[in-house]
């Protein structure tokens, strides 16, 4: 077994420091070590996107990153986006437009969608479908996911306009 490493992370604004093996996969760190269970394990093979989190401004499948690689990084998960009584626009939009059925894919969907809208605040339907291609849903047929994201974009844009 290899030596444990000194790891420092900032997850959802909170500093974390601990010793761990470098081969630990980030999804296991989040779920098992830090009890952040929003990111899910759907496939473990980099295909489904249920484990998507934001790492230093990039959408990443956390089942395909060694904890050692993420050492020093800033990480945002669904838990860092909203609270049950203060939902993120995307969360309320998914709720309102039935963007989920079982909900297993939803944390990855919303985390990825937030990054997509940050990079492209006025996406077309095609932009949304292409930008969400790394996230798989077994339930919805995607129609309402796309609708939820487009509605959230519109809402974020009108809130921005109102503020200006």
């Amino acid at each position: 077994m290899s030596d444990k490493m000194h790891i420092k992370l900032n997850v959802n604004g909170k500093d974390e420091e601990f010793l761990a093996e470098p081969r630990e996969l980030l999804i296991h760190t989040l779920r098992e070590r830090l009890d952040i269970t929003g990111p899910h394990i759907g496939c473990e093979t980099t295909h489904c996107g249920a484990c998507t989190v934001t790492i230093d401004g990039k959408s990443v499948k956390s089942c395909t990153m060694f904890l050692a690689q993420a050492n020093g990084a800033e990480i945002t998960t669904i838990e860092g986006m909203g609270e049950p009584d203060n939902l993120h626009v995307l969360q309320s939009s998914f709720k309102e437009h039935h963007g989920l059925q079982c909900g297993f894919c939803t944390p990855g969907m919303i985390t990825r969608a937030a990054k997509l809208l940050e990079e492209n605040p006025n996406p077309t339907e095609e932009d949304v479908r292409f930008g969400m291609a790394g996230n798989i849903c077994r339930c919805t047929g995607y129609q309402n996911i796309v609708k939820s994201i487009l509605a959230a974009a519109a809402e974020m844009n009108s809130a921005k306009e109102a503020a200006e």
């Binding site: 077994m1 290899s2 030596d3 490493m5 093996e21 470098p22 081969r23 996969l25 473990e44 093979t45 980099t46 295909h47 996107g49 998507t52 990039k58 959408s59 990443v60 499948k61 395909t64 990153m65 060694f66 050692a68 690689q69 050492n71 990825r112 997509l116 292409f130 930008g131 969400m132 291609a133 790394g134």
Partner: protein
């Protein structure tokens, strides 16, 4: 799926990388984005007792656009897609990069990892052969350049020595029309067949063509004969047929979960025709 244990290194300069590679030989390997290597390690199809993460090594990323375009090995596919100067000078890179995997993979996957990997399914090696790129390597003996067209020996076997690192790729700014066409089973999949084409047109005549194919042999295939079949023609149906026939003589697909050999040859022909027609229309 947990990989075997390893020692992890994150050196800040190339000297540090080379020192670890020399000390541990076969037991050490560099990692770029990890999006080919980590899945293999999780499956325990790759064992890497000493893993050298290149993310902090200085000078390995960035894009320089001039008569010769140079791209650092650690430049991500996402960066290739979002570089306006690169898009203006060599739009085929963006067109190809957008057809690789999905957004999450493209934030992590690098050009260097894609070309060094040696997987016949990777898209960038064929593209680099089309563009007549040069790969820049550094090792204990110093720096060395290899043509992309001479780099690939067999699946996962390249001209790169174990203790060498790819630092950058460079290629002459491409001329004329371009197309990267890829047939895949679903978005995010590796190619059943893909074609990279650059064509130069003068008046109504083709004066230069470069054609390379992906995932149709155990290496990417630059088809000299297919390229030559277009030169001097008006890229009419007969010329395109001749190019496709020449290409089919150069590829050597095998049967796998993407289909039997006859199907792959059929798809290769369809894809190459589309790529030639689109490149010609843009030339």
């Amino acid at each position: 799926m947990i990989p075997a244990a390893f020692e992890y290194y994150r050196p800040k300069d190339m000297e540090g990388v080379l020192a670890i590679l020399e000390e541990h030989g076969d037991d050490a390997r560099v990692m770029a984005g990890g999006h080919s290597l980590i899945p293999m390690m999780k499956l325990r199809m790759a064992e890497v007792p000493h893993l050298i993460d290149l993310q902090d090594v200085e000078g390995l990323s960035g894009i320089t656009v001039a008569d010769t375009i140079r791209i650092g090995a650690m430049t991500t596919q996402n960066a290739l897609i979002n570089d306006a100067a690169l898009e203006a000078a060599a739009p085929i890179l963006k067109e190809a990069a957008l057809q690789i995997a999905d957004p999450q993979v493209r934030y992590m996957g690098t050009l260097g990892g894609n070309v060094a990997n040696g997987d016949p399914g990777n898209d960038m090696p064929g593209l680099m052969q089309c563009l007549d790129a040069t790969f820049h390597l550094v090792g204990p003996e110093g720096e060395r350049d290899v043509s992309a067209r001479d780099f690939y020996e067999a699946a996962y076997m390249t001209d790169r020595e174990d203790e060498e690192v790819l630092t950058a790729v460079s290629f002459p700014a491409p001329q004329g029309g371009f197309a990267y066409e890829k047939q895949k089973r679903k978005i995010g999949d590796y190619a059943t067949a893909a074609a990279a084409v650059q064509i130069v047109k003068d008046g109504g005549t083709c004066t230069g063509a470069q054609i390379a194919m992906t995932n149709l042999s155990d290496t990417p295939i630059y088809s000299e004969e297919a390229s030559e079949a277009l030169v001097g023609t008006s890229v009419d149906d007969a010329a395109i047929k001749a190019a496709i026939d020449a290409m089919l003589g150069d590829i050597d697909p095998t049967e796998d979960n993407r289909g039997p050999i006859a199907f792959k040859k059929h798809v290769a022909g369809v894809i190459l025709r589309r790529a030639i027609e689109r490149a010609w229309s843009r030339a």
